[in-house]
């Protein structure tokens, strides 16, 4: 009833009201999510490097862990503030959503706050404790970061999953009268969204690290330092890729059941039917698919393991209840899946070479693939978010509240959107430039590391000694 009224509101409000708010949320979230991925998974990779360094007295791994910590200091700061902007935006852009459902979706956010605390506190201890804390004690101060990163991610994803599959509350007369926190947190979509995103975070972080060192190797820096850096990122990420593909496939099947309209958009299913073909690529416009590869029956097989499986099309809901840009959802889905398989291929290639020759593939193509793997993982992850968010439109809370009803009634969103794009562009550029400057200083083997006046000290022992040793390895 109220949902129907919502749809009317949505129709009455011109797109101009909601589109800027959605664009702003999309751009700030799209920016922050990369840093969030690094926040969730990079600590684990740093800890892995430090573990190997301590356990096997591997100085190269230890040096990498220290340097990555320094980069993490920058990334965590930018992630913390861009995350705060999202908290503000929940209210500033979507007061309608918070007013009606804040008491429900606030609970997982509260749990996230708890883990955000643990993360921030132990990140500070870990990053700035390199010099004074003894080896293993220091390593253990990093463990809470990695653990709370995962649990914090689960909490935030619980909110997003709840928006896709709302439940665990009773609404009467427009007011929430009862809430079951467990059902809110572990809603139906959380079961597949949580592992999907956490694995994505590990893939993004691992492949990004690997990509940086693969690029160095492509430029001729074929030394132990770069190979260690590459492997520390690549091995965990590549090992998780097949798991991710399995989880993603399961998720898609669940979406076909739970959110059929989203699934229909992902796979170009205009009409509910059996023997639904699978489209690879293709641009949907005015009832036709231009280009793209059509594989008969495959979509039905993927959904229900038989060509006779009935797949719900978007004709199951009136046009006002369908997502706006079907082709975007479909193409993003295909890009995500395609990149996932490309990354799987890179991992298999490395595995094969290691199995046969106990080494990483020497071919230039492999390292090119490695160099772009980080970017590929980021693009795949962003595409996944486009699919789940645009695919849920016009709803913000699936079948309960439209995005238009949730959006702010204030004007001026175009202004904040413009400003935020400018600020974030500068922020992103500055972050990249600073990370690049850091790596250049490292490469020059500058004792500069120990000279960092305010950052985590780069070196443990007397400054320079170790850096020179590592620099010696870095330039054979």
């Amino acid at each position: 009833m109220s949902a129907a009224a919502d749809l009317l509101v949505a129709a009455a409000r011109t797109g101009a009201d909601v589109v800027p708010a959605r664009a702003q949320m999309a751009s700030t979230l799209g920016f922050h999510i990369i840093l969030a991925c690094l926040g969730i998974a990079l600590p684990t990779i740093v800890l892995l490097a430090e573990y190997i360094g301590l356990r096997r007295h591997n100085e190269v791994a230890l040096l990498l862990a220290r340097r990555w910590s320094q980069a993490m200091g920058v990334l965590v700061a930018v992630g913390a503030v861009t995350g705060t902007v999202l908290s503000f935006e929940m209210g500033l852009l979507w007061p309608g959503l918070m007013r009606r459902y804040g008491a429900v979706l606030g609970l997982p956010f509260g749990v996230e706050g708890l883990f955000f605390f643990l993360e921030a506190i132990f990140t500070a201890i870990y990053l700035y404790g390199w010099r004074r804390l003894p080896g293993w004690a220091h390593w253990w101060t990093g463990v809470p970061i990695a653990v709370s990163g995962v649990f914090g991610a689960m909490s935030v994803i619980a909110v997003n999953a709840w928006m896709n599959q709302p439940g665990g509350f009773t609404e009467r007369g427009g007011r929430i009268v009862a809430v079951d926190p467990w059902q809110v947190f572990f809603n139906h979509a959380a079961i597949y969204e949580m592992p999907h995103m956490i694995l994505a975070a590990y893939m993004v972080s691992g492949f990004t690290v690997a990509g940086i060192y693969a690029a160095g190797i492509l430029r001729g820096r074929r030394d132990r330092y770069h190979h260690t850096g590459f492997a520390l990122g690549f091995v965990p990420a590549a090992a998780l890729t097949p798991v991710q593909i399995f989880v993603g496939d399961t998720a898609a099947r669940a979406i076909a059941h739970d959110q059929p309209v989203k699934f229909a958009s992902m796979e170009y299913v205009p009409r509910t039917s059996t023997h639904v073909p699978e489209w690879l690529g293709g641009f949907y416009w005015g009832g036709h698919v231009y280009g793209g590869l059509r594989i008969p029956d495959l979509d039905s097989v993927l959904v229900g393991f038989s060509p006779g499986t009935r797949v719900t099309g978007w004709d199951s809901v009136p046009p006002a209840g369908r997502p706006p840009v079907v082709w975007l959802i479909h193409l993003c889905f295909d890009v995500m899946v395609g990149l996932g398989f490309l990354l799987l291929l890179a991992g298999l290639w490395a595995l094969l070479e290691y199995w046969r020759h106990r080494r990483l593939p020497p071919q230039r193509l492999f390292w090119l693939l490695g160099a772009v793997s980080g970017l590929a993982a980021i693009v795949a992850m962003e595409c996944g978010w486009v699919v789940t968010e645009v695919g849920r439109q016009p709803w913000v809370v699936y079948r309960l509240q439209t995005t238009a009803a949730a959006a702010t009634t204030n004007g001026g969103v175009v202004t904040t959107l413009t400003l935020i794009i400018v600020v974030y562009a500068a922020l992103g550029a500055a972050t990249l430039l600073i990370l690049r400057a850091l790596s250049r200083r490292w490469r020059r083997g500058e004792a500069g590391e120990s000279e960092v006046p305010y950052g985590p000290p780069g070196e443990l022992g007397p400054p320079g000694e170790e850096a020179q040793r590592a620099a010696g390895q870095a330039r054979p």
Binding site: A80, G83, T84, E89, P95, G102, A124, Y128, R132, A430
Partner: protein, 391 residues
């Protein structure tokens, strides 16, 4: 009702923690901004930087936690505040981004010009954020937020009380930072910095005290209800705030740092709780919205209480560990005091031999400027009020 009151207390407690922990980090930015040129400001800038570096992110999380509790436990009030006060909230959020980014970038850049630019961004935005947050709190306290808000209002936060609260927040942050920094300098035996920040804390204490009194007087005119409650049932807290402020100022003048941090934090906390007690149980003054009818069901409030207990159990010891390690200089890598070899300090060529604290005129000048600005502000505001009321 009891549960709703408990959640209200939890929200107020976490706001207090953000104010006394995160507020001091903003105040550090204020003193960074006022530290002078590269040479003169090198020593205090470095001291500020080392003192807030490892802790500001953890302190900052209190803000996120405040927002989450606010929207979870009181969603209707949250939506009303977010709609009505959108502009200052956007500006505060922008300040938070620039502050954090500027601070993080400054330490990783090497070129002097870039360090200056990042430092200026950090310091200037440290000033903006507490000011606009203050206007938000002032607008809420003075009943400018309607329960059924539909659009942003400029008038809501540009009245006398909100603007004064904005200035009050900024100076209170400066006060806290000055006290903490002076205390830290005393602990690490850096007498020069101890005196330097003590002078600034005193100046900020004067301005904060003057602004508080002026705000109380204004309230007497503009919001007799709130004034009555502040001088009624919240009077003990108001007195505690005043006593703590005076005692802290006295200890600063006497150069005795023991207990000064606690006194300063307690003073600020007493102001916040005085506001809370004066307003209880109303959430948005001037409306019927109270702690218990702001849109959350009983189960949500209970869940928030449970969450708060877990936070106390888990986060309390973690923060204690962080602050203990920081206090023992485990997390800085270097000692806090100036014994550090003459390495290039922030945005500076070799540090100047004569620190600014050795120039006795500077602090009194700061006080004078602060007082003059306060008086001028009070006069402008009074003139404005007279115009409004047609006198």
């Amino acid at each position: 009702m009891i549960v709703a009151a408990a959640v209200g207390a939890i929200l107020l407690a976490s706001v207090t923690l953000y104010a006394v922990l995160g507020g001091a980090d903003f105040g550090g930015g204020l003193w960074d901004l006022l530290a002078g040129g590269d040479r003169r400001g090198a020593a205090p800038r470095q001291f500020i930087d080392e003192s807030i570096t490892p802790v500001w992110e953890a302190n900052h999380v209190w803000l996120v936690f405040d927002l989450v509790i606010f929207w979870t436990a009181f969603p209707h009030a949250f939506a009303a505040v977010m709609l009505t006060l959108a502009l200052p909230l956007w500006l505060a959020a922008g300040g938070i981004v620039l502050r954090g980014a500027g601070f993080a970038f400054r330490k990783e850049t090497r070129a002097l010009g870039m360090q200056r630019a990042a430092g200026a961004v950090f310091a200037f935005s440290s000033l903006l954020t507490p000011f606009f947050m203050g206007t938000v709190v002032g607008a809420i306290a003075s009943g400018q937020v309607p329960a059924q808000a539909t659009h942003a209002s400029l008038a809501a936060w540009t009245g006398v009380i909100p603007l004064m609260t904005g200035f009050l927040f900024t100076s209170a942050c400066g006060f806290l930072a000055g006290v903490y920094l002076s205390w830290e300098a005393a602990r690490s035996g850096n007498q020069q910095m101890q005196v330097y920040f003590a002078r600034r804390a005193q100046a900020a204490a004067l301005v904060t005290g003057a602004l508080s009194l002026a705000a109380l007087l204004e309230l007497n005119y503009l919001d007799p209800t709130l004034f009555g409650r502040l001088t009624g049932r919240a009077l003990p807290l108001v007195i505690i705030a005043g006593v703590c402020g005076l005692a802290a100022a006295g200890l600063l003048a006497a150069g005795r740092p023991a207990g000064i941090r606690v006194l300063a934090a307690l003073g600020v906390a007493a102001v916040i709780w005085g506001w809370g007690v004066a307003q209880y149980p109303v959430l948005l003054p001037g409306t019927g919205m109270t702690l218990s009818n702001a849109g959350a069901p009983h189960a949500t409030l209970v869940a928030v209480v449970v969450l708060a207990i877990i936070v106390v159990l888990l986060i309390g010891p973690s923060f204690a560990l962080l602050f203990a390690l920081h206090g023992r200089h485990v997390l800085t890598g270097e000692h806090l005091h100036a014994a550090r070899p003459a390495g290039p300090a922030l945005a500076s060529p070799p540090p100047a031999p004569a620190g600014p604290a050795e120039r006795p005129g500077a602090a009194s000048r700061t006080v004078a400027i602060g007082l003059a600005a306060t008086v001028a502000l009070a006069r402008v505001l009074a003139a404005r009020r007279d115009r409004r009321t047609g006198r």
